[in-house]
Point group: C3
């Protein structure tokens, strides 16, 4: 049943990325006197905007990299720095991750970082993807994903690192690890994260078929925990995180760490070989050709 | 959905332990000519009453340690001796565990065994908790929990060691590993037992939040297998166990042992370090202070 | 709930095997000009009939060993050779496994191969069971089980090796690993395969009780993925497999292999000891006596 529903709703990355032209900037500013935006020193517009409410100890991280919050090397570097700052700030106990772009949470890994690039560049890029996952999956903060748009591939991975996932109840959105649809393979730690979320069997089928689930189907298999009307997602995330923060930090953090340690250790102790594997795979002629064809198709759609 | 329902129903240990004053002695005696109560030689009233029906090969273990069947060192020692006797009696093939106290199955670990006690005492206590788990989770008998009251923390652990769980369908009762709510952490083998019962994702959320589930929610996530009217729980447990006993013992026992071996071996081979870890943790000033504050609160409620 | 439903529907192997007399030969031939039956050189009638449609890249393997597709040494040898041929044929990308016998998919391991046979014979037989599992669970092809009849024990194992399971929606059929009902034990790789399909808790209960599930219950626990009217099972399997084949082979195959590698490696590196364990177990007097009694009972039923 879930398979058939998911197959019907398969719109894929292509449908998503082609929305580039329709992207607008409806970022709602909601800075209150209590919110202390962190200082930044980038020459380009920041791709991440963090609002930290000292009265609650909760930071909201708005991803604002037009058009679709693609996970580029720059974006990931900025995101990791932001998370690390919050992690070291003892007054920050919770983190909500959401998107400031319309219709999309994050479209996943930026293909331009892997197409026609040197092995060195691909390796540095992959290290930053690993770093994002390690920082978020191993965070001491309570993390909640406020998934207010589609969230394929790396976007889904990012959402799965969180302690809780609330998704906008909009049937046009979808979420999943759809790598095989592009002819590539989700690495073992993507797999492990999904297995920890929805179990072995659902992961096996979802990954082989590169399934993207509509919100209602994602809820059914446990890929997200709760659906809310789109304009309520962040508000509900804020209420939810306050319940998690009622638990003593120390006990909650040790518990989280014990539950995830094995999965995290597996990447930590295989980090270099995982980079090597990715670089060898992605720089293959056949894979480059496939990525090139895919980007060409996207360009034509946009024209 | 499950989270929100569970959060609504969160009454916690405090609500439970404060019922001490209302505890009465409504233990229903149902000894038939076939039942052979085991001989006992304790100077204090026995905390465990075992009825063994030789005609069926099924023993019923009534926990009767007022007010709330707290797992004290004495209680656990008595329980382990009882289980061991039954295990060695080849005519005993099935065990039903239930409570003779009103409203509670077991309130879990006895805090007074960990507060203001010597490291030696804490270590001996912890060893007895391990022993209870090893004996029950590795039992060759068919074990069924007839959960006729609330079952937080160690009470939930005990229920989870069984092959099958039937809970009273009373929305005032709850079950779960709520350790984090008290600022402490469920050890790895509590975690493993819960993962084996409800899966990784549900365990991760339940343990971080210290969730206590109402019977209907516990059924939904698979923490219990069946709900029955309160006065039917033991009768249904008796019917259920007879179906399990229709399977040839030898094949069933090997199957059970193969399914649980890895989890049991993990504690067996880390038993001393687990005790050391517990003693170091529980004797910390901050944890002792937290336990003291909790006990003070309970005293005030009872007054 | 699931337990009670499954217990109600427990008809067991005996009911199944006793249908031998009613078996007819309603094998529907549906060879089209595109179908190229593979050449065979057996003196006895082939137990496996393969139809390969070059236009779709999909082979359909009809098991046709009267009366109930018991997994004998000959049957398994023929099946393994067929799978290997298809695996090496690069034009074959998908495999549907189904039964040409009425009312049964496969009744599982052939007891006559284990009763009154030499240790050498038992060992050779067990090796062929392992080989079947290794070939199917590790297949690079998309594999779909079109389960058009009952599927106990080894029949269930075979179905579980597939990527997707469609079962006839006939409440007279059942599926499950019911070994304990016969006094024997499903080996660790049967267990692992079931755990990968329905999770630890369901497997633990199903295997201890030797549960056979009706189609509706099998769907509920995830043992099968979809139910269809009996005469639609193969047609729907054909539609389903075409969706799986829309995914680039290379990415799908690596994904499948990564998801199953650990489970497969466990048998591969313990193959000889697993055979030794089986031979020691099955040649025991008590087990032989139990198998003998079971076969005697079947004979009487048929008379």
């Amino acid at each position: 049943m879930a398979l058939r529903a998911a197959l019907r709703s398969r719109s894929g990355l292509s449908g998503l990325l082609s929305q580039r032209s329709s992207c607008s900037s409806d970022i709602r500013m909601c800075v209150s006197p209590l919110l202390v935006p962190q200082q930044r020193n980038y020459s380009t517009p920041p791709k991440i905007r963090v609002e930290f409410d000292q009265s609650t100890g909760v930071a909201v991280m708005h991803m604002q990299s037009p058009p679709v919050n693609s996970l580029s090397l720059d974006f990931l570097t900025e995101l990791c720095i932001s998370v690390e700052k919050l992690e070291m700030d003892k007054s920050c106990r919770g983190l909500i991750i959401t998107s400031a772009q319309p219709k999309v949470f994050s479209a996943g890994l930026d293909i331009t970082e892997m197409y026609g690039k040197s092995p060195e560049h691909c390796g540095a890029f992959w290290r930053s993807v690993q770093e994002m996952w390690l920082k978020l999956y191993g965070s001491n903060m309570v993390t909640v994903a406020a998934i207010n748009g589609s969230s394929p591939a790396g976007g889904c991975l990012m959402a799965m690192t969180c302690d809780y996932r609330i998704m906008a109840d909009n049937p046009r959105y979808n979420i999943g690890l759809n790598e095989t649809q592009l002819g590539i393979v989700a690495p073992f730690w993507f797999m492990d994260t999904m297995k920890n979320t929805v179990g072995q069997r659902t992961t096996e089928m979802a990954l082989q078929l590169g399934l993207l689930y509509k919100p209602a189907d994602a809820l059914k298999i446990g890929l997200v925990d709760q659906l809310e009307p789109e304009d309520q997602v962040i508000a509900v995330a804020t209420q939810t995180i306050s319940r998690w923060l009622a638990i003593p930090d120390h006990a909650r953090q040790i518990t989280k760490s014990m539950m995830r340690k094995k999965t995290i250790d597996k990447l930590t102790s295989n980090r270099e070989s995982d980079i090597q594997f990715f670089v060898n795979f992605i720089t293959k002629d056949s894979i480059q050709k496939s990525l090139g064809g895919y980007m060409e198709m996207l360009k034509k759609r946009r024209a």
